[in-house]
Symmetry: C2
Subunit: 105 residues, 2 copies
């Protein structure tokens, strides 16, 4: 994904490609909620994490945590797998890295 190219800011300069802007905004939007920031923070410190532990860690209802996980999943920032009754979530390092790169990393 090409981002932050070297351009000159003037009236005739084309804005960043709308599709790219949209994709990036969606990724950042996934991190625009404090609960989701905290979830990502947790996942960043471990291999994977059971949903049941996330439910226990936040003072929010189980459907609300499930909703936040879906937002993160749809943004591609996390992925999940089921093993038996439990679902395990983990970060997608490449997606996080792309965001970091967008910010000039």
């Amino acid at each position: 994904m090409k981002t932050l190219p070297i351009l000159c800011c003037g009236p005739e300069t084309e804005p960043l490609d709308p599709a790219a802007s949209e994709t990036l905004a969606t990724r950042f939007r996934a991190l625009s909620d404090p609960t989701r920031v905290a979830i990502v923070n947790r996942l960043a410190s471990t291999e994977e994490c059971c949903v049941c532990d996330l439910n226990a860690a936040f003072e929010l209802s189980q459907p609300t945590i499930s909703h936040h996980l879906k937002v993160l999943r749809d943004a591609g920032l996390v992925e999940s797998s089921r093993r038996g009754t439990w679902a395990y979530y983990r970060l997608v390092p490449a997606a996080v890295g792309e965001l970091r790169h967008t910010l000039g990393g």
Copy 2:
């Protein structure tokens, strides 16, 4: 700001400090809109940029661009100064750098 510490994900692990989560989420929320991503992208490629050029670059009304600039200003990601009739905006590199650092830079 301490972020992404090395923790073990378990039922007893404390979530990230709520205040820190809130601050980070606010910064990311400022980048959660495609127009604002494109504005930041523009500012990243130049010293500073006149609002009049931003108004010309996007197919949005002048109040809408002004609104987006306010969101970015309130998040600390950009700053502005007036010279005569015109207002000039520029990035705050430190703020962008903090976000990058949060993502593991």
